[in-house]
Symmetry: C2
Subunit: 387 residues, 2 copies
């Protein structure tokens, strides 16, 4: 009888051990060297749990399920791992390629697509059980297999991505999962290296590493083909050494202005999105990596490549001036805003810490120890297109 | 011993009864005649539970806590009720005035503000325990107490609202909750009746019922005072009968265009937000109430006042043409998109149903019975400014 009671109690403890709580203020911090995630919450700025066994997270990103309970982590080793934030555990893990660079979740949340380097292509999985739904080898017009970069979700369960070696943009329509349709745009330019979808879901923009300019596809008018914009954007006639490629997903828009990290130069470009012309440049402290707009739109936050990667600069958008330079630790790899922008979290890899800042006072309000932290991702991403 | 086991089991059942689940796909449907809420989820389009005892919900709205677990409901009877979506229960309820019209939650999620008609003013409560934090009577420059309308949250824990009778906009700064600061803008125009904050958090716009035009306050430059825009917007020299005032919170922006329900006319106005000038009009089937942009930006959805309130029209944004007229039931009071826009939920009060539509195919995909449904609110609202 005692055993029975103990059994019942254990059953209860097991079933009750994961706390009943909302998931809108949760997030994950990647501890890149240890293949581990921290589950954090942004209401009180605390760590709730850790999840180990994620494999090689040296260039990891992730997306969230539409209920904000589960995350899908894309690891450098080709691992795709589904984790449960509430129970702080791995639900399922598949090693689906030799080397992957990122992924996306479909508009309806039912499909997760992964961009692979080795072998080059896109694999699509059911978000429920991670069963393979589609396997799309990225064989370009050159007959060779390309690395896939810049994989983004669009509306209508369409994924957009770019082929690095062959210089193409492809649209993968997964509305009918048994009959994936691919539309190919070859000859878009040399070496697309990263891409983004604008916040309204309309434009897919791929940055070209091999030449100056950006390839743009209007997803509302896919028959019009790919056009070239910002022909001055790139490494220029006399390229500077580039210590780290900027992340295009950091692009942000305030009103009709977008902000774009220059490549190799100590500048952030200001672009008018109604004309796609450059309308200004902001001098900053180093080679920008992310230039991210704080929700609420008034301030832009910029971090940098070596040797300036211990700095973060805050830019006032109306005046386009740097208002403060922060030194939040060594090797600031990522910035993530709370959904309504009152706080920003900064990961300092070589200081083994994540710091939390008040975006109004620009004062540090919390610090969380973390082992070699890189990406920080809050669950509010679940509700956005093209992340 | 048996009793002990039974006790333990009951304990477990009680503690485990609320299911462990994410809250990112939850929502509430107001059953206005019965003072009741339905807890729904948008992944499978189902009802999960009901919560009764909310009082008079004949003109109800609500906001969400930043963790997307709790909602704060503003009732017509002055009731402010905090409900727990996971446990489907009322956490606390206070009747804080004789008649309230709506409210907002502060950027940091710690304060809930309520706009009151009777007595006219704003009361601010702690979102944790609903204890009163501030009581701001709306005594205008005319020395009289005004009704408060158009209460919206802004960044920095500032609330913006308008005084109907005295024609003023006030900013209530709650950064220091023990020392609320009020900044007043008198003489903004006659009878502001509703307002909105643009999605980037920059502009507070109050529609004027007593004259044509809209009063605009640039929240990034509050020293510049209130300006007047869209002087043609309003009832005009020869006003038509207005069967229902449009809701300004329905305003939506696609690129630099905003869409605005005309007052009394069968038109939606198209406004360029860089100049705040009208650039077009869309002929629609009736007097528009809400004109809401589908996430993804390509389509605008419009519902109508009597006698056309059984219709919903879908407008293609690039061409500004109506592409389809739906008839989803009698008395369509509200529309709510899933966060990434693949579905829209429509409440049909006089058909006692909520229907769910695929926004791409424009086909109905689900129907939920509901008693006299009005507002539908998904938890993704928690992550946005100015809702």
């Amino acid at each position: 009888m005692k055993r029975l009671i103990a059994g019942l109690s254990l059953l209860c403890l097991a079933a009750c051990s994961a706390p009943l709580r909302g998931t809108g203020d949760l997030g994950l911090v990647v501890e890149r060297a240890d293949g581990r995630l921290q589950v954090v919450e942004s209401t009180h700025s605390t760590r709730l749990a850790t999840i180990s066994g994620l494999g090689d997270l040296s260039h990891a990103s992730l997306v969230y399920s539409r209920d904000e309970r589960f995350a899908f982590i894309f690891g450098r080793d080709g691992g795709l791992t589904k984790v449960d934030l509430l129970e702080a555990r791995i639900v399922k893990r598949v090693v689906q390629s030799g080397n992957s660079i990122g992924g996306a979740i479909s508009q309806d949340g039912k499909l997760v697509a992964v961009a692979n380097y080795t072998p080059g292509g896109v694999k699509v999985f059911d978000s429920d059980d991670l069963e393979l739904v589609a396997d799309i080898p990225a064989i370009g017009a050159d007959g060779q297999r390309s690395k896939v970069v810049g994989l983004e979700d669009s509306t209508g369960n369409i994924f957009a991505f770019s082929l690095y070696e062959s210089g193409e943009i492809w649209l993968l329509d997964m509305k009918d999962r048994k009959n994936p349709k691919v539309r190919k745009y070859p000859g878009i330019g040399k070496q697309p290296y990263d891409a983004l979808v604008t916040e309204d879901g309309r434009y897919y923009l791929a940055g070209l590493f091999g030449e100056d300019g950006i390839a743009m596809l209007d997803l509302w008018n896919p028959d019009k083909g790919v056009t070239r914009i910002l022909n001055h954007y790139g490494r220029g006639a006399e390229p500077l050494p580039v210590y780290k490629m900027p992340h295009l997903e950091g692009w942000a828009a305030s009103g009709n202005l977008a902000f774009l990290p220059a490549i190799g130069r100590h500048e952030v470009l200001v672009v008018d999105m109604t004309t796609w012309k450059e309308v200004g440049r902001i001098a900053v402290a180093g080679q920008p990596v992310f230039a991210m707009l704080q929700p609420g739109g008034r301030r832009l936050w910029v971090n940098f490549a070596l040797p300036d990667n211990g700095k973060v600069q805050v830019v006032d958008v109306p005046s386009l001036k740097v208002v403060k330079t922060l030194e939040p630790g060594k090797a600031i790899l990522h910035m993530e805003f709370t959904p309504r922008g009152e706080r920003v979290w900064l990961s300092a890899r070589d200081s083994d810490q994540v710091t939390v800042w008040d975006t109004e006072t620009l004062e540090q309000v919390a610090m969380l120890p973390a082992a070699k932290p890189s990406g920080i991702f809050f669950t509010a991403r679940a509700h956005r297109i093209g992340l």
